[in-house]
Amino acid sequence: MLHKSNNDAQSTLLQVKNISKKFGDFYANDMLNLSIETGKVHALLGENGAGKSTLVKMMYGALQPTSGSIHWQGQHVSIDSPAHARNLGIGMVFQHFSLFEALTVAENISLALPAQLRQGDLSQRIADLSQDYGLPLNPAALVADLSVGERQRIEIVRCLLQQPKLLIMDEPTAVLTPQEAQALFSTLRRLVEEGCAVLYISHRLEEVKQICHDATILRHGKLVAEVDPQVETAATLAQLMVGASVHQVSRDANDQVGDVLLELSHLYKGSSTPFGVDLVDVNLQVKSGEILAIAGVAGNGQGELFSVISGEECNPNQNFISLLGQISDGLNINQRRCLGAAFVPEERMGHSAVEHLSLTDNILLSRHACIDTESSLDLGWLGIDRNQLAHLNKVIGIDYDVRKSKEDAIAGSLSGGNLQKFVVGRELNRQPKVLVINQPTWGVDAGAAALIRQAVVDLSRQGSAILIISQDLDEIFELADTIAVMSRGQLSPTYAAGDLSREQIGLMMAGSHERSAQGSGA
């Protein structure tokens, strides 16, 4: 091509100039500038909703900018589609993998490759390349049998086979154990040494400091700073990201630990879906005034454990589960609520809340069965006590700082953080004796996360027993009195939080506590 490069710096690979993306009246990206250089790891930092995904989707051709331009190796390009991006030499590893569980590694990779790359012995090339980059993969393995870390390797190898010049990685360590994350970092360093550039999206500041050379920080769709992460501290980066200093959760020593309120003994549960995880001999106890956190990489049986404890799946004729001293295996979720338990599932949309219903209807969702309000919300043929619901909605809105466009807004119109505050507030407003909460601050901004964590700690200090399931080790160390680790459907013994290091937890996430004889059943 005869286009003249209008960029003097030869090493600038991709440059974004004054790019904006508008959805309706909302600017997801507002006049952003960014340049990525060959041989460097460039961090893109920001809270959820800051506009990181929108920006990279435009670089990858999955979205078209409203205004502004993208320059690839000095030439103005309009990237029409992901296929075009791949042709240019841009590869992307998404946070959520698009893999077929019933196919093998090689088959999955082959499906996504252009025809000319599918020629020859693909399996051998996959094996060689993955070995070479320290990403061990068996091309003949079924995806369903692989861990999340291994699945991510498939996506990475798929990109590397196309020899990209720029690799975009969206929150790659969110699903990895600390050890797996370190292995990934060595791979990235190797790639960068070979002259590839990496755009690394994350909100984990420590790892950004560890591997990134440049950092661009976004907030509310605007560029707030370009910094050298080696110079900054995690605290200054956090402040730039959030725009204010973040509330520190305060936690008294818990000397009020009392009776066991939630106990699982030798719980076994076969999975009810083909690719689910079987729970094997799970034991735990949570006492009044205590917070037990279950750490683990997602997809190791946490969802299954939650639905067994909550009673969404109940098993009459068993006696594994004791809630407030009562065997509860046969009780459904509402009977367990009436005993004094409350539950917050991981997924907000479609599980803990219904997107297209109003907030008052969403309160009714989990509060209709037990009278822990002035009187029953369900008036039978007469209908539903709307006045009381409106009152509850108001109280929850004030107590948990739920920001909404109108008093009884549609749940789907709230931001992730505000909806999570609402969902948690709906349950805590009942003053439950037992709270089970799965990924309490997943995908939530720092301010909302701090409020939720503080509310959970306060509840425990009032004598409730709390079980938290989380992948976020920072959160676990911030909240937990005791910690157990889940991997492949097995739960480690419980340790006092002070007795464990991150490394020990990481080893247990990878399965060091598992009883080998029992295996995973996968």
Partner: protein
């Protein structure tokens, strides 16, 4: 220029109400084109089809008589579809309801009392409900798709009716015609007007109002909406998916059975091989056209009833086959499903990109 469908940020409430209106308009325009293609005067034909039935009292009565079963079945189906339960077999449930209710006039013809009529109504509803529970049971125990089973059971029900009126229940004094004895006295619904209007209309209106209240204001209605639109949230609320399937089939089947009984104890007055001009299938269109809202179903029922009467009128006046009725109903369903796309999507013209500085892929 290129026309694309763009997903809306939020479902459009306006389009939800506008979609049936738009669908009716497109149906009318297409209908006019088809009449013209058949060499008939399109405006006259459309007038005869849609307006003429509303110009005389007797034809208005006929419209209402036809609207009764459509509304009664349609409101049950509206609740079903809201719950994401797909009962396509109302026609079969209608047939079995009529058969069950006819037990009294056929086997206990001497029992003449208001209670006999009440018992017939109850048996009709019970028959339809029990027959509808077959697909419910197959779905909840074996995971069989209810669309297929409920539809296939229609043919079983119709053949069952056929066998009864040609066999054991044939009127011994009926000159070998495939008909049961004529129902008499308290085995017929009270009639009024010119003799065709009957109690069934009141039952249909009552059912629509009661279901409107349940769906709008009670916990049961909330449960049905949640289980239908967000099953996992339904489980979190402690609502049972299985129970909802049973409830919806029993309700819609019961109402269809009741409609069947009302037909044979009303306008028809006996059992015969054909007791319904596909009311059970047309009610599916009624439910969608009425926006799955029991009050909307009342209006949709009247409109579809006009399509039956208009089809007959046009056959007499212009000599067009009354099959045109089915064609109009089919078009209406087709266009309403098409227009419903616009609730979640909007049409947008996009122009070709102004300056395409695409870099060649080889460099």
């Amino acid at each position: 220029m290129q026309l694309i469908l763009e997903k809306r940020a939020q479902a459009s409430d306006v389009m939800n109400l506008l979609s049936p209106v738009l669908a009716i308009l497109i149906t009318v325009v297409m209908g006019g084109l088809i009449f013209a293609a058949m060499g008939k005067p399109p405006l006259t034909a459309l007038y005869l089809y849609f307006i003429d039935p509303l110009t005389s009292w007797w034809s208005i009565e006929e419209v209402l008589v036809k609207a009764g079963p459509l509304v009664l079945i349609g409101v049950g189906l509206a609740v079903c579809f809201k719950a994401n339960v797909w009962n396509i077999g109302a026609e079969g449930q209608l047939t079995v309801g009529a058969l069950m209710g006819a037990i009294i006039p056929v086997l206990w013809g001497e029992w003449q009392s208001p209670l006999a009529l009440l018992a017939m109504l109850c048996l009709g509803a019970l028959g339809g409900a029990l027959f509808a529970l077959i697909p419910a049971w197959l779905k909840t125990h074996f995971g069989v798709n209810e669309i297929l089973t409920s539809l296939m059971l229609v043919y079983i029900a119709q053949l069952l009716l056929d066998w009864f009126v040609r066999g054991p229940w044939k009127d011994p004094n009926g000159y070998n015609f495939p008909k049961s004895v004529s129902f008499e006295g308290w085995h017929l619904l009270p009639m009024w007007g010119d003799g065709r209007m009957h109690l069934g209309l009141v039952v249909a209106l009552g059912a629509a109002l009661v279901l409107f209240w349940i769906m709008r204001h009670t916990l049961k209605g909330f449960e049905i909406k949640v289980v239908g639109s967000a099953p996992r949230a339904g489980a979190f609320a402690g609502f049972s998916q299985t129970k909802t399937v049973w409830f919806c089939f029993a309700l819609s089947g019961g109402l269809a059975g009741l409609a069947g009984l009302i037909e044979v104890a009303g306008p028809i007055g006996q059992l015969q091989p054909h007791i319904s001009p596909n009311y059970g299938f047309t009610a599916i269109i009624v439910a969608f056209l009425g926006r799955l809202n029991p009050l909307g179903v009342i209006f949709a029922g009247i409109l579809l009833a006009i399509s039956y009467i208009g089809g007959e009128g046009i056959q007499i006046e212009l000599g067009i086959s009354s099959k045109i009725t089915q064609m109009f109903q089919g078009m209406l369903l087709f266009f309403i499903l098409m227009c419903d796309t616009l609730i979640l999507y909007r049409l947008k013209w996009i122009s070709a990109k102004p300056n395409q500085h695409t870099v060649g892929h080889t460099s």
